[in-house]
Amino acid sequence: MSGPSPAGESRPPEPDVDANGVDRAQIRAMLALTPEERLRHVEEFVEAALEIRELNGTGPIR
């Protein structure tokens, strides 16, 4: 998933991918949020994915 951006920033952080393929910039963006903000960010992502699935007639995610 794309990393969260602090309010007021329009562009996501530049990728900073480590040797394992993990984007450290995404982690740092998540760490800049409070725990509840992190959860809300994932909720928004899941809701968007579910909406696309529903629009395409696919069932619940298992």
């Binding site: 993990v22 995404q26 998540m30 409070t34 725990p35 509840e36 809701e47 529903e54």
Partner: protein, 143 residues
């Protein structure tokens, strides 16, 4: 449309004074790992009073199973470790409004996933380990 309600469910459980620990990938998310999940896994304390409180919340709000997937209320994880065995390895995190939830520590979550050996758990390890490393360089969460 179905809604992801992780924060709302945690708030309900905390408000009703259910003793529980957030485990699994939701714990990873709360710690700052950039991952996603459709399950909210919690380990509850298995005392009769606590189970009654948990059931009251679950039955009152129809949140055990939704189109999002299961809300897994687990008696134990990681080779039979329950609430009492895990609670020392948790951190308290604050939600908006001052409610607190206990979340399995990131190092303990990584250990549990390493021990599980399941492909889906092993696949999550690089991002969880990188999150632990990044987190160790920062001040504690402001949540």
């Amino acid at each position: 449309m179905a809604r992801a309600r992780f924060a709302e469910i945690l708030r309900l459980l905390a408000t009703e004074e259910v003793e529980f620990l957030v485990v699994g990938m939701t714990a990873g998310i709360l710690h700052g790992a950039p991952v996603t999940t459709v399950d909210l896994d919690v380990v509850h304390r298995r005392t009769p009073d606590n189970v009654a409180r948990l059931l009251r919340v679950l039955s009152g709000h129809q949140i055990l199973t939704t189109s999002l997937g299961d809300r897994d209320c687990l008696g134990s994880i990681d080779q039979g470790r329950g609430y009492e065995e895990l609670v020392a390895q948790t951190e308290e995190m604050r939600l908006a409004g001052g409610l607190a939830v206990r979340v399995l520590g990131l190092a303990a979550l990584i250990d549990a996933k390493e021990r599980s050996g399941r492909p889906k758990d092993l696949a999550a390890l690089p991002v969880l380990r990188a999150t632990l490393e990044e987190k160790s360089r920062r001040p504690p969460d402001r949540g």
